[in-house]
């Protein structure tokens, strides 16, 4: 952790450029997106490294989306939705949770660092949590460095 802090803003990618993590966040419309919105309207500062993709529900987040994000060069992926019990569609997040539980292990087993795939529950009221989460992930991925260009999940030139 010390090292991560020391490296802040100084991590460089292979070409010597300063490395800015690219994080793709797949979020549900009803909770996390509203939470992100709250973070914004409350003027909370958080890392500009995240690109948010809004979906109706975490149940709609196909694991293929995550693969596509890594394929296209994401350094990390965040998947986030309503807390258990709060799903707008009753149980979408419960279904999603099962899939993620297996899927993130499968990606780990095939060589994607667990630090590059994050899951969270962020409610519409949790603007602070969202901002902290993004800052935390950004810092951790900064520590990990860019997603290796020779990782088989990544599109090769």
């Amino acid at each position: 952790m010390e090292q991560t802090k020391a490296n802040k803003n100084t991590t460089r990618d292979a070409t010597g450029e300063t490395f800015e993590p690219r994080i793709v966040a797949f979020v549900c419309n009803w909770c996390t997106y509203a939470g992100a919105d709250l973070a914004g309207t409350s003027r909370m500062q958080y890392a500009p490294n995240v690109r948010i993709i809004k979906l109706p529900c975490t149940g709609r987040i196909d694991p293929l989306f995550i693969l596509k994000a890594f394929e296209g060069g994401a350094d990390a992926v965040l998947v986030s939705g309503c807390h258990p019990g709060d799903c707008h569609y009753t149980s979408g997040n419960y279904h999603a949770r099962r899939r993620w539980a297996v899927f993130h292990k499968l990606l780990d087993f095939t060589g994607i660092d667990p630090g590059r795939l994050h899951f969270s529950w962020v409610s519409a009221a949790e603007g602070r949590k969202f901002a902290d989460l993004i800052n935390d992930i950004t810092e951790r991925v900064r520590g990990l460095g860019p997603f290796a260009s020779d990782n088989p999940a990544r599109r090769q030139a």
Binding site: L64, R97, R98, W100, A101, F109, T110, A148, A153, Q156
Partner: protein
């Protein structure tokens, strides 16, 4: 009577009595085990059974050319019995359309329907036999760093030519149109290289999560020698650990990946 003789006798009887219009079993050609599709009792002598019978014949149950011959009977070692139960749970085997000639490593259990097949699996083969070497390799891999695992799979997936033999040999891969072959949008690159191969193998393994009976047909079918069972085993272990699910025991089981319990673990979620 040995197992082969028992299978022959039962196959002939099923066809004679009309309880099956086709029996799918194993035969021998030039010393190799090959599938045999019997429609006449006289052909029963061509059936054989032995350790070399590794093809999971349940893979044929989805084929229209085969289904036309229902009611069917298939020679089913434990893994095939489990496949049959999984297919029944997924409504892929209409009631009464398939019988199994259930065989074990040494023994013969006779002709059973799906419910009885599940009974046999629960009683005798509740846990799939996992090759100790395979389990050891899976542990070895799990102990590596992500970068080492990535290097391992990069090399393995690079061998894939996308012949889809793994899919064809798998009883669980019965989708009419595989997502790897949809192009609006194109989810999985069809080029036999890098990310397309990665996506294909992850997708295949993930779609088998909670459904894979660890029969090994996919890896046996792979001409390129890609260790697909490592993916299957790792996923199956995860499914069992997390959800206590063992596919192939209960024809009324809900699909593991299509159901949930509120108390499912979420220690990986922040």
């Amino acid at each position: 009577m040995n197992v082969t003789e028992s299978i022959r006798a039962d196959a002939a009887r099923l066809l004679t009595e009309g309880r099956a219009k086709m029996v799918i079993g194993y035969g021998l050609r030039n010393g190799r085990s090959v599938p045999v599709f019997l429609t006449e009792p006289q052909g029963a002598d061509s059936l054989h059974y032995g350790p070399q019978c590794t093809l999971n014949l349940a893979a044929y149950l989805a084929r229209p050319e085969v289904r036309r011959n229902a009611p069917l009977a298939i020679v089913a070692p434990p893994a095939t019995l489990r496949s049959l139960v999984v297919l029944a749970a997924e409504s892929q085997v209409p009631d009464g359309s398939v019988l199994a000639l259930a065989v074990g490593p040494q023994e013969y259990h006779g002709v059973v329907d799906v419910a009885a097949a599940a009974e046999i699996v629960r009683k005798h083969y509740a846990s799939p036999e996992v090759d100790p070497d395979l389990a050891a390799r899976a542990r070895e891999l799990a102990a590596m760093t992500p970068a080492q695992r990535s290097a391992f799979w990069r090399e393995q997936f690079a061998k894939c030519t996308r012949c889809y033999a793994c899919r064809a040999a798998c009883p669980g891969c019965y989708c009419r149109r595989c997502v790897a072959e949809t192009n609006m949008p194109q989810w999985v690159s069809t080029a036999a290289r890098g990310h397309g191969n990665y996506a294909w193998h992850i997708l295949r393994a993930f779609h088998q999560a909670g459904r894979c009976v660890l029969c090994g047909a996919c890896e046996a079918a792979c001409p390129q020698g890609i260790p697909l069972m490592l993916l299957n085993l790792s996923t199956a272990q995860e499914v069992q650990e997390q959800f206590g699910a063992k596919p192939g025991l209960d024809p009324a089981a809900k699909p593991v990946m299509g159901s949930f319990r509120p108390e499912d673990k979420d220690d990986f979620i922040r």
